[in-house]
Amino acid sequence: MNPQIVRLTYVALILVAVLVLMTTYWQTWAAASLAERQDNSIRRVAEFSIDRGLIFSFEPRKRLARNRQRAIDGRTLFFRRYPYGPLAAHVVGYSTVGRSRTGLERSLNDFLTASNSSLSTVFDKTLDELRGKPVQGNDVVTTLDLDAQEVANEALGANCGAVVALDPRTGKLLVMASSPGFDPNLVEENFGQIEQITADCTPAAPLVNRASAGLYVPGSTFKVVTAAAALESKRYTPDSTFVDPGYCTVYGKRVNNFDTSRPFGTIDLTNALAYSVNSVFCNIGKKLGAKKILDTAKRFGFYEKPPLETPSDERLASGLYDNGRLFYPKVDANVDAGRMAFGQERVLVTALQNAMVAGAIGVGGRLMEPHVVNRIVAPGGKVIERQRPRLIRRAVSKKTADAVADMMRLAVERGTGTAAQISGYAIGGKTGTGETGVPGSNITWFIAFAGEDEDRPPELAIAVVLQNQSGTGGTTAAPIAREVMQAILQGTENP
């Protein structure tokens, strides 16, 4: 019987070896994907015994998220507090026992809980564990300018909308505000109170980060993209002239200018952008075709989620949408290019994307990767990750960008965007009023770049979007942009 017993031994050993193999699988290969599952309460609870990393604003340096230590059943647990409440809630997000995380609290969870794979973190963590001390997470320093962020929040007030301001030279995000806001401290304590938040829009959806996940009709701000596409096509120059009858005919129907009572007559492209003449862009759109314009839009970052450190489902790609789905036309005939050229049709844009457009125009066509995290710092003070400026691509030629920038400066100087003027600064901007068909519920926009003078690259680009407005972009959004720009420009002057 011995040969059989030997064979049976092999079978028995293989059975147990399979167990070793599968334990290895679950504890190494599959561990990361299991850790990320939303129903993984074990992981979520376990992470509350970690002295979670703090989250800071850039300037002034304040703690946007800190920990409150509590001992429960002999365990030391760390619960989150957000000292500035709603101020940067959409970027920072929240980390609670009961709900899955959002914002940077979610996307940077590995760093904040010291479970990232950087060698020094692994070393520090193991040391902490061996000494029986709570594991300390890595701190995150964001790029946010807290004063300007506060100005943006206050300026938005009860409006529904968003403000994004960034440094177009580096992609550094200075302001990311979304209204209505919420107090992340209430998420655990009293979520009902958040559910009852109301604002000038329904649903109020205070948890949504409108700055990167709010898609809005871009209105005339899209003319910046169209103008850039026109110049890139070499079929137009800034001095190309058009005759404006006050309307444009697409598919046999008239599309009016914003103010039909006062046609501009003969007008060049530069002035057409400064005064936002629909008929001119409508005709350019019909000439170029939708795909040509959309291809330029793509160079500016449309049709992809803007890269940012926040969770990817809190960011949306801009572009043409059909029934809630992003779509790119197979042939030009699928899209009404005339109306698309001035930002109607089905184009939808986020504030973040529009700030990127304004910024890239301002800095000569270079589209920089936006980022909201400046650096990640280990408990000992060692910087384990530092964000460096990264070029996504050159969106348009320097010549084109500079020409469109001139047009935008003219718009602020004496066109539709005069409300954004700040004396002593060179500002180029573009207003936008997206009509939803319901009176008093326009989407209004202002996008701009600003610097000390025309010859140096601007130090900030901004996009302001408001829902449910009865005024125009020039009267509603531009003043808010001006306030925020002033806070940033003067803040950097006198640090």
Partner: protein, 433 residues
């Protein structure tokens, strides 16, 4: 005597492991090492020294590794249970003491010749079936977690399945020793008992809903049949019959079907019907809740584990996150706190036990002893595979215990009896002649 000295040395090591583990648990809980640790460690070691002394008297030539390996397994088990619930830890310690008593009793009883057991083989056969069916008797059985595995005798509750396993092995060792020649020749009349046993295995599933124990007992039967006859064809035929029967039962019995569904698709993206609440829910929040949470527990351990006493088993408010942790899912508790390193170490101890047990079977010089040792060892390995494999999603999860590690009196006592039998066979095989 060399084996006995090695055994004692191994036991001291096991006692050290138990003490250090216990000290770590108290350190993590109270931030200081409780002085009781020394007492408990000494008691643990003392218990096994008693067993050692009994072995010296009754089975001096027995294998010297089996008892220390057992001690290590119980050390892992009792400290993990103590860490989860100190009260249960104390009760488990009492059960280990009862197990050592059972070991000593068995050794003393059969110290002259355990082979008298062979003549009672049919009694054991009947006993095995009776024990397996006991829980389904009205008034006696209790349904836990969808399967009838428990017997409540008023004063004492026990799982007869564990004892049935040993009875079955004793029966098969005797029966197959007698019939192996004719079976090997493949005489048709001997297929009868084979079919009868297959029928019994199916019956057990039908009456008790206990897929795990049926799989275990049938696996033991096939393994011993193979050892006795050397005919792989029998094993293939038996497996086919079992799988065929299981397929039929799968369609007929909801409980079996649920188990397989949970095994194949523990996670759903869309809500499915939840038979526990009668509402729609994601399967991970309903039927496969246990399995999924236990996988999260294992994954949370990672390579090095969280450290003893520092795993996460309860929520912030103290509520349990993983049900049946001490019994069916004890492996996922160990895997979280000791990590891959510790879990693999525990499995390695199981492997070593299997190797030593099979070595006993190889050394034995009569058919009954060989079949007995091989059957006991294979049963031990297969039981480990079925429960840990269930927790690891290798096979459908069924509620049986992890030998020497899980919480539970019947299981501990039965496995100590299994150990005693192995030691007796080993002692006889190594006796100087």
């Amino acid at each position: 005597m060399n084996a006995r000295r090695r055994e004692l040395f191994g036991l001291v090591l096991a006692g050290l492991i138990a003490s250090v583990a216990l000290a770590t648990v108290t350190l993590a809980r109270d931030a200081e090492i409780s002085p009781d640790v020394v007492t408990w460690g000494a008691l643990f070691l003392g218990l096994y020294v008693v067993a050692h002394v009994v072995i010296r008297r009754t089975a001096p030539n027995a294998d010297g590794a089996l008892l220390p390996l057992t001690a290590v397994l119980t050390a892992f088990g009792v400290t993990t249970i103590y860490r989860l619930d100190p009260g249960d830890g104390g009760r488990q310690a009492v059960w280990i003491a009862a197990g050592v008593a059972a070991l000593a009793g068995t050794l003393l009883w059969f110290r002259h010749d355990y082979r008298v057991l062979e003549s009672y083989r049919y009694l054991f056969g009947v006993g095995a079936v009776a024990l397996l069916l006991l829980p389904s008797l009205p008034g006696l059985g209790e349904t836990v977690n969808g399967a009838r595995l428990w017997v409540d005798l008023g004063v004492i509750q026990f799982q007869p399945g564990e004892l049935a396993k040993i009875c079955l092995i004793l029966f098969l060792a005797g029966y197959l020793r007698e019939k192996r020649e004719s079976l090997a020749r493949g005489q048709l009349k001997d297929v009868g008992p084979l079919l009868a046993i297959w029928g019994a295995a199916m019956l057990v599933i039908v009456v008790t809903n206990d897929l795990g124990s049926a799989l275990l007992n049938f696996g033991i039967f096939l393994a011993m049949l193979y050892v006795a006859t050397g005919r792989a064809l029998f094993v293939a035929a038996g497996l086919t019959l079992f799988l065929g029967g299981a397929a039929v039962l799968y369609n007929a019995i909801g409980h079996v079907q649920d188990r397989v569904t949970i095994w194949l698709q523990p996670w759903t993206d869309e809500p499915v019907y939840c038979s526990l609440t009668g509402e729609l829910a994601l399967r991970q929040d309903c039927a496969s809740y246990q399995l999924v949470k236990s996988l999260y527990s294992i994954a949370n351990g990672g390579f090095g584990g969280t450290g003893l006493g520092q795993g996460t088993f309860t929520s912030v408010d103290g509520s349990q996150l993983i049900p049946y942790l001490r019994t069916d899912f004890i492996f996922s508790a160990i895997a979280q706190e000791l990590g891959l390193v510790g879990a693999a170490a525990v499995l390695l101890v199981f492997m070593l036990f299997v190797v030593r047990g099979m070595r006993v079977a190889l050394q034995a010089d009569d058919g009954f002893s060989k079949l007995l040792a091989a059957g006991l060892t294979f049963g031990f390995a297969l039981q480990t595979f079925i429960i840990v494999g269930g927790v690891l999603r290798v096979v459908p999860l069924t509620g049986i215990t992890l030998p020497f590690v899980s919480y539970g009196g019947t299981s501990i006592v039965a496995n100590f009896v299994l150990l005693a039998l192995l030691l007796l066979v080993s002692n006889r095989a190594n006796e100087p002649r």
